[in-house]
Symmetry: C2
Subunit: 202 residues, 2 copies
């Protein structure tokens, strides 16, 4: 491994929902709090025991995991496969960027919520600490390429880098991306430094 | 476009089934013949009006299109997403390579067929004529890389080349691959000549 490359473990993100406290209570009842089921790799983040149904114009997906803790804005993260099934036009967005996105209906055991926006296909991204970013000359919101080996070997270009001292090194892809590259959670991929370029020789 | 590159239209292959005449008759009745619904880009190939259900150990997928004409061996082509849903361990294979693959049950309006093998995830591949292959120094079963532009820009490595005078120039990817690269049928991708190499500079 030369100094320009960084091995990164992959986290495959299945469809999931982040809820605001207000929406959590509308779906699960007044004063409701999420129950931690499984810690995620990113510190402080967890899969809760709670699930909801996501309703679109053409379909419903049940048992969609709620991730915690609650956030300021409710956000529904799906794959393009899910978007077709639901009949929703979901754009590729960075987390939190909801302008011009579709809404949907969420159904929980105690109620329903109709959101006007917040359904996104999350842009693939790498979480890293400022120390790791510094070693590779990277800054928050830089874009890099990532090599994946194997039978479905490919290079993901245009991969967003997110830098925060509370992050753990991990690349998040959705299920479509994982399947196209034959990746599973925990597999290793290789980041190409932004100061390097993939180019054609020949 | 420099001489080393070739623009190729994409065909997104949704899950589908190729049937032998024997299995066609078991599923649809004695003497049955497929009805042409839509011609495919590859000459002589068509989507038929007929569909079957594919049954695995954990799930069923209904309305799976039968492609014609009939073949010597029945083959079920699914995505990794479908394989999870069906509960089948489908390997990535070139068409016709069924050794060590899983079977499944197919259900039609007049009967059922249990196949012992033939469920595959088709290896992404490019169809081209000998003339096109000759222009780019390629031979049947070579492997090339393919560039995809756009928001989910990536490079597919390890793409199989199939050469036959009855082919039309087209790259086939499955739905997972199309979604990961944000591709639709008819989009253009760029083949990198096998005499060129993608390499790191910096």
């Amino acid at each position: 491994m030369d100094a320009g490359m960084l091995e990164i473990p992959v986290g495959v993100s299945n469809r999931h929902v982040h809820l605001s406290q207000e929406h959590l209570e509308q779906l699960f009842g007044p004063g409701y709090e999420l129950t931690i089921w499984k810690d995620l790799v990113q510190p402080g983040q967890y899969a809760s025991k709670e699930t909801v149904s996501v309703v679109g114009t053409k379909g419903i997906i049940e048992n969609v995991r709620v991730l915690g803790p609650v956030r300021k804005k409710t956000q529904v993260e799906i794959s393009r496969t899910d978007a077709f099934k639901l009949g929703l036009k979901a754009p590729i967005r960075d987390s939190g960027d909801h302008e011009g996105t579709s809404g949907c209906v969420l159904v929980g055991p105690k109620g329903m919520v109709s959101i006007n926006s917040g359904v996104i296909i999350a842009a693939r991204h790498i979480h890293m600490t400022p120390v790791e970013a510094g070693m590779y000359g990277l800054h928050d919101k830089d874009r890099v390429s990532v090599l994946v080996d194997g039978e479905r070997a490919l290079v993901f270009n245009n991969v967003l880098v997110r830098v925060n001292k509370n992050f753990a090194l991990e690349m998040h892809v959705d299920v479509d991306e994982a399947n196209s590259a034959w990746l599973n959670t925990g597999d290793k991929v290789t980041m190409i430094n932004k100061n390097q370029t993939l180019c054609l020789v020949g």
